[in-house]
C-alpha cells in the first residue's frame, strides 16, 4: 500500500450511536477536519479536528483509530489503517498521549502544590495544628483517651503500689506540680512492674513510671528529673497532640494514596512524627529544669540519669546520623544543657524512707550495681582530663591564667584570627576550669586551621571536660588522623571509651601506646583502670605494679592498686598500698584524689578490724 497523501481516502466504519449497526464510510483529511462521505450518498459531513476525541490517547504507531466527537457525541468512526494515526496526529496534536496525560496530571500537580504550600506554611510559621486541637479537647475526653492508652500498656503488667510508695509518689507529685504551674494540674503517676527503663506521659495527665527506671536511677533526684520532664510533656499536651497528629497524618496519607499503602508514605509519617517529637523533648526538658528549680530539687540528678542511660546503652548516641531519626535530642546535648544550669539551693527530692518505699514498691529491690566510683582523673601531664564524676569542677582562681587571658584577648582584638592567641587563651580558660570558653576558642582555632593536630586535641580535651564524650571522641579521632603518634590524644580517647564502658576500644588504644611508647606510664595506669572495671583484677594489679615500677612516686597507682586488692579481698595488701599512697606527695592531677581515697578507705578498713 502506497503512503497516502493528505488527500487520500481511508475506508472507515461509522456507528450511528442509535443502533449497533455500522455503515461503511470514506474518510478524507480536509483542511479543518475529517470529511466523511457515506457510500452511495453525495452528501458529506465534516468532523472538526478540535472536536475529535480518541478512544485511547493516540499513538502514531496505532494500527487503527476509533474517534468520536466532543463532548458526548454518540457517533463513532473506526478507521483500520496503520497510516491514519500518524497523519491525524499531525493535524490534531491534542490527541497525543503526552497532551492527554498532561490534562490528567493537572489536578494531581495542584494537590501536590497545595500540600507543599501547607507543609511549608506549618513549618515556617511554626504552627502546630495537632496541638491546637489538643487544647480544645475537654479534660474528660483526654482522660478517656489516656485511660485507653494505659489499659493497653497495662495489659500484662501489674501496678506496683504500697501505701508507703503511694504516699511517697504523691508527695513528690505535689512538690513538682506545685512548681510546674499556678493552676491545678490533674496528674497521677503510676509505677508499673516493667523492666523497661522508661517513663511516659499519656493523655489526661497520667504518667507511667517503670520499675526498670526506678531501679536504674541512683537517687530520688534522678527520678524527680525524669518526672519533671514528663510533667513538661503533660503541660504542653504532647501526648494528646501526638495521637491527634498520628490519626490525622494516617488519614491524610490514606487520602493521598487512595488506600494503596506504600512504604514511602509510612516513612513520611514517621519522619514528621520524629521532627515533632524532638521539638517536644526540648520543650519538656526546658519545663523540667524550670520545675526542678521551682521545687528546689537539684537538676544534677536529671543530668546524672542521662549519663547513666548513655553508659547503659551507648550505641544510641554513637552515630551522628541517627540524630535525624531519634526522638530524643542527642543525650550529650541534653547533659550539656542540664550541666549549664547555675546552681541553686536544693534538697533531696524524697526522704530516705520515701525513696526506699518507692524502690521496693515492686517487691524487694535487687542489689544495684554500685554507682561508678569516682575514678582518678586521667594522668596526662599536659591536660587535666576529666573525671567521670558528673559534677563540673568549680571555676578556679588563677591570676597567671587571668593575665594570659587578658593578653590573648587584647591580641585578638587587633587580629581576631590570631591562632596562637586563641590557643593560649583556651589553655588558660582550661586551667581555670572554664571549659565552655576554652571550647569556643579551640573551635574557632580549628575552623581557622583544621589541619592542626594540637588544636583538635585541645578541642577534644575541652569537650571531654564538658562530658560531651561522643564529640570528644570525634575530636580525638581527628587528632590521630592528623598525627597518629599523638599518645596524649590516644590516651584520652581510651579514657573516654572507658567512661562510656566501651572497654574493647579503650584497651586497643592503651595497648597501642604501651607498644609504641613504653615510657608513657599513664597508659599502663589507665589500662589498669579498664581491667579493674572489667573485673579482670589480676591484670589490673599487674598494670598498676608496672606503672609503679616505672614511676615510684605515682600516688594514684598505689591507691588504685589498693582498691583492686580490696576488691579481691586482700585487705593487708590494700592497707599497705593506701599507706604508701599517703606517704608520697600528690603527684599528677589525680594525686589529690589518691590521697582522699586512701585516707577514706584506711578509715573504713581500720574500723572494720576493730
Amino acid at each position: 500500500m502506497s503512503m497516502p497523501s493528505s488527500g487520500a481516502r481511508f475506508a472507515g466504519m461509522l456507528g450511528s450511536g442509535t443502533t449497533a449497526a455500522a455503515r461503511a464510510v470514506s474518510v478524507r483529511m480536509a483542511g479543518g477536519g475529517l470529511e466523511l462521505r457515506m457510500e452511495g450518498e453525495p452528501r458529506t459531513q465534516v468532523w472538526a479536528y478540535e472536536d475529535l476525541q480518541s478512544s485511547v490517547p493516540l499513538r502514531s504507531d496505532a494500527g487503527d483509530v476509533l474517534l468520536s466527537r466532543k463532548p458526548d457525541g454518540v457517533e463513532t468512526l473506526f478507521v483500520a489503517d496503520p497510516s491514519f494515526a500518524s497523519l491525524l496526529l499531525a493535524r490534531a496534536p491534542a490527541l497525543s498521549p503526552a497532551r492527554q496525560r498532561w490534562q490528567g496530571l493537572k489536578p494531581g500537580l495542584a494537590v501536590l502544590a497545595a500540600v507543599v504550600a501547607i507543609v511549608a506554611g506549618l513549618w515556617s510559621l511554626d504552627l502546630h495544628p495537632a496541638k491546637a486541637m489538643a487544647r480544645v479537647m475537654p479534660l474528660h475526653s483526654r482522660q478517656v483517651l489516656g485511660g485507653a492508652v494505659v489499659a493497653s500498656l497495662a495489659k500484662d503488667r501489674k501496678v506496683c503500689e504500697t501505701p508507703a510508695s503511694r504516699a511517697a509518689l504523691d508527695r513528690l507529685t505535689k512538690r513538682l506540680v506545685g512548681a510546674a504551674s499556678d493552676k491545678p494540674v490533674p496528674l497521677r503517676i503510676t509505677l508499673f512492674d516493667w523492666g523497661l527503663v522508661n517513663a511516659f506521659a499519656v493523655p489526661g495527665g497520667q504518667i507511667i513510671l517503670t520499675r526498670g527506671l526506678v531501679q536504674l536511677a541512683g537517687s530520688p533526684d534522678e527520678v524527680a528529673g525524669v518526672l519533671a520532664h514528663e510533667i513538661g510533656h503533660t503541660l504542653e499536651l504532647h501526648p494528646e497532640a501526638g495521637i491527634i497528629r498520628l490519626v490525622g497524618l494516617s488519614a491524610a496519607t490514606q487520602l493521598a494514596f487512595a488506600g494503596s499503602s506504600g512504604t514511602a508514605t509510612n516513612v513520611g509519617v514517621l519522619l514528621t512524627q520524629l521532627r515533632y517529637s524532638r521539638i517536644a523533648e526540648r520543650e519538656a526538658d526546658a519545663h523540667a529544669l524550670r520545675i526542678l528549680k521551682g521545687a528546689g530539687i537539684s537538676a544534677k540528678g536529671f543530668g546524672d540519669f542521662f549519663e547513666r542511660l548513655e553508659a547503659k546503652n551507648p550505641s544510641a548516641a554513637t552515630v551522628p546520623e541517627i540524630q535525624v531519626l531519634s526522638t530524643h535530642p542527642v543525650t550529650a546535648e541534653r547533659i550539656a544543657l542540664v550541666r549549664a544550669q547555675p546552681a541553686y539551693a536544693a534538697t533531696p527530692a524524697l526522704s530516705a524512707e520515701d525513696w526506699r518505699a518507692l524502690r521496693e514498691a515492686c517487691g524487694p529491690a535487687p542489689a544495684r550495681p554500685q554507682a561508678p566510683a569516682t575514678s582518678p582523673r586521667t594522668a596526662s601531664t599536659q591536660t587535666p582530663a576529666p573525671s567521670p564524676a558528673p559534677a563540673p569542677a568549680p571555676a578556679k582562681s588563677d591570676p597567671q591564667a587571668d593575665r594570659e587571658i587578658a593578653e590573648a584577648t587584647k591580641a585578638l582584638e587587633t587580629n581576631p584570627k590570631d591562632i596562637a592567641a586563641l590557643q593560649k587563651r583556651a589553655r588558660a580558660y582550661a586551667r581555670k576550669n572554664q571549659h565552655e570558653a576554652a571550647l569556643a576558642d579551640y573551635a574557632k582555632a580549628v575552623d581557622l586551621k583544621p589541619g592542626d593536630a594540637t588544636l583538635q586535641y585541645g578541642r577534644g580535651t575541652a569537650l571531654q571536660n564538658l562530658h560531651r564524650y561522643e564529640e570528644a571522641l570525634g575530636a580525638y579521632d581527628a587528632t590521630l588522623r592528623l598525627s597518629p603518634s599523638h599518645s596524649n590524644a590516644r590516651n584520652n580517647r581510651g579514657n573516654v571509651n572507658r567512661v562510656l564502658k566501651r572497654y574493647d576500644a579503650a584497651l586497643l588504644d592503651f595497648d597501642e601506646i604501651i607498644r609504641t611508647e613504653p615510657g608513657f606510664v599513664h597508659a599502663l595506669y589507665n589500662r589498669g583502670l579498664v581491667y579493674r572495671e572489667m573485673n579482670r583484677l589480676e591484670e589490673a594489679v599487674r598494670d598498676f605494679t608496672a606503672a609503679i615500677a616505672q614511676d615510684k612516686a605515682y600516688t594514684a597507682a598505689y591507691a588504685s592498686r589498693g582498691l583492686t586488692y580490696e576488691k579481691m579481698g586482700n585487705r593487708d595488701k590494700a592497707v599497705e598500698d593506701y599507706r604508701a599512697a599517703l606517704a608520697l606527695p600528690a603527684k599528677y592531677n589525680n594525686g589529690t584524689w589518691a590521697h582522699t581515697t586512701a585516707r577514706d578507705h584506711l578509715k573504713t578498713l581500720a574500723a572494720d578490724t576493730l
Binding site: M13, G15, S16, G17, T18, T19, A20, A21, A22, S55, V56, P57, R59, D61, A62, G63, D64, L66, S68, V74, E75, T76, F78, A80, Q100, R101, G104, L105, P107, G108, L109, V111, L112, V115, S141, V144, L145, A148, V247, A251, Q254, L255, A256, F257, A258, G259, S260, G262, A264
Partner: protein, 370 residues
C-alpha cells in the same frame, strides 16, 4: 447443561459476534511504570487518571468483529467518587470506630463491631454493584453503551445475608450464592436497550463443589497427619528435644515445608478445577439476543494466571498491576467465543441515565477487578 438452539433462523443482517484480543501498541509495561511514577509525583492523585488510561487501553484491545470496545470513563469521575466515599463514608466510619474503642464498654464495643462489619459488607455489596454499573455505562461499542439496571441495595442485601450463611452451612452455600449473585448482575446487564439472559442454576456446580469441599478437607487432614508423623519421628530420634518445631532437624523442616507447599498447590489446582467449571458454565448460560457465549477456561491455565499475576504484583511492588489486569482480561477474551448471530441494527442506544461519579466504594473496599 441446557442448550437452546436460537441460531436456527438468523434474522436478516445478523452476524455472529467474533471476539478477539488485539494487543495494543506499546503494551502495558511502560504505561504501568509511567503511571506508578506519576502517581508518586502527585501524592497519589494521578492514580485515577492512570487507571483510566489503562482501562482505555485494555478496552481498546478487546475487539468484537474487529471493532474495539471503548472506555469512556474519566479520571475526574473516579477521583470525585473516591473523595465522596472517603469523606462521607470512610472518615466517619473510622472516627466512629476510634470513638467506640474509647468510650464504649467492651460488651458494647463488641456489638458495635458486629454492626460495623455488617455495614462494611453491605457497603462492599453496594460497591460491587455500583462499580459494575459505572463501568458498563462507560463501555461503548459502535457508540452503544452498556448498562446495569436494578437496585444496588437489593444486591447488597443478598450479598450480606448469603455471606453470613457461609460459615453456618460449612461453605455449602457458596455455589448457590455464586449463581444467585451472578444472576443478579448478569440478568440486569444491558448492551444498548437489550438485556443479557442468564439461565444458570446451582445444581451443576455442586457436581464439582463436593469434590472441592471433600478434597480440601482430606488435604488438610492428610497434610497435618503427615506433619505430625514426621515431627513425631524426629522427636523419637532425639528424645531429649521438647516438642518444638524450631528444634527439628533441617531435613524434617524441609519436608514439612514441601508438604505444606504441595498441599497448597493441590488445593489451588482443585479450586481452579472448580473455578474453571464455574466460569465456563456461566458463559454457556449467558446469552445476548441470538448469541450464546462459550468459554474454555482450564484449571492449569487458571492456576498459572493467578500465580504469575500474584508474583508480578509482588516483585514489581505493585508497579505492574496494570499488566496483570490486562493479562486477566486477555485470558478471558482469548478463550471466549459466540455461537449464534446478533441483529446489530435491532439494538438501540441504552436509555439509562449515567452515574455522575466513579466507583469510589468499590475502590475503597478493594472489590473491583479491573
Amino acid at each position: 447443561m441446557s442448550f437452546v438452539d436460537v441460531s436456527a433462523t438468523p434474522p436478516p443482517g445478523a452476524t455472529a459476534p467474533h471476539i478477539t484480543w488485539v494487543h495494543p501498541p506499546g503494551g502495558f509495561v511502560g504505561l504501568s511504570l509511567l503511571n506508578g511514577v506519576l502517581r508518586i509525583l502527585t501524592l497519589g492523585v494521578y492514580h485515577f487518571w492512570g487507571k483510566t488510561e489503562v482501562r482505555q487501553r485494555i478496552w481498546s484491545a478487546v475487539r468484537v468483529n474487529g471493532e474495539p470496545l471503548e472506555y469512556r470513563g474519566t479520571g475526574g469521575e473516579l477521583f470525585r467518587g473516591f473523595l465522596i466515599v472517603f469523606f462521607l463514608i470512610l472518615l466517619p466510619l473510622g472516627a466512629a470506630s476510634f470513638a467506640s474503642s474509647l468510650f464504649l464498654s467492651p460488651a458494647m464495643h463488641g456489638i458495635y463491631n458486629l454492626g460495623f462489619w455488617a455495614v462494611l459488607l453491605l457497603l462492599s455489596g453496594i460497591g460491587i454493584h455500583r462499580a459494575r454499573r459505572y463501568r458498563l455505562s462507560r463501555t461503548r461499542w459502535r457508540g452503544i453503551r452498556g448498562g446495569l439496571s436494578g437496585q444496588s441495595r437489593g444486591f447488597a442485601w443478598t450479598y450480606l445475608w448469603t455471606m453470613l450463611l457461609v460459615p453456618f452451612t460449612l461453605g455449602w452455600i457458596v455455589p448457590w450464592r455464586t449463581v444467585r449473585l451472578q444472576k443478579a448482575l448478569m440478568a440486569e446487564t444491558r448492551f444498548g436497550d437489550k438485556a443479557f439472559t442468564f439461565t444458570a442454576s446451582a445444581g451443576p456446580l455442586y457436581k464439582r463443589f463436593w469434590v472441592l469441599w471433600l478434597g480440601t478437607l482430606l488435604l488438610i487432614l492428610g497434610v497435618s497427619t503427615a506433619i505430625g508423623v514426621l515431627a513425631a519421628a524426629s522427636m523419637t530420634a532425639q528424645p531429649a528435644a521438647a516438642p518444638n518445631l524450631g528444634q527439628l532437624p533441617p531435613h524434617s523442616i524441609a519436608a514439612i515445608i514441601a508438604l505444606v507447599l504441595g498441599g497448597f498447590l493441590a488445593f489451588a489446582m482443585l479450586h481452579a478445577w472448580y473455578s474453571a467449571r464455574v466460569l465456563n458454565y456461566f458463559a454457556a448460560e449467558t446469552a445476548l439476543q441470538g448469541a450464546r457465549f462459550m468459554l474454555s477456561a482450564t484449571a492449569p491455565s487458571l492456576v498459572w494466571l493467578a500465580a504469575s499475576n500474584y508474583l508480578l504484583r509482588i516483585f514489581s511492588l505493585g508497579f505492574l498491576t496494570a499488566v496483570t489486569e490486562a493479562r486477566s482480561m486477555r485470558y478471558i477474551v482469548d478463550r471466549l467465543s459466540c455461537d449464534g448471530a446478533i441483529a446489530w441494527h435491532e439494538i438501540g442506544q441504552n436509555p439509562d441515565a449515567l452515574l455522575k461519579r466513579g466507583e469510589g466504594l468499590a475502590e475503597a473496599f478493594n472489590v473491583d477487578a479491573f
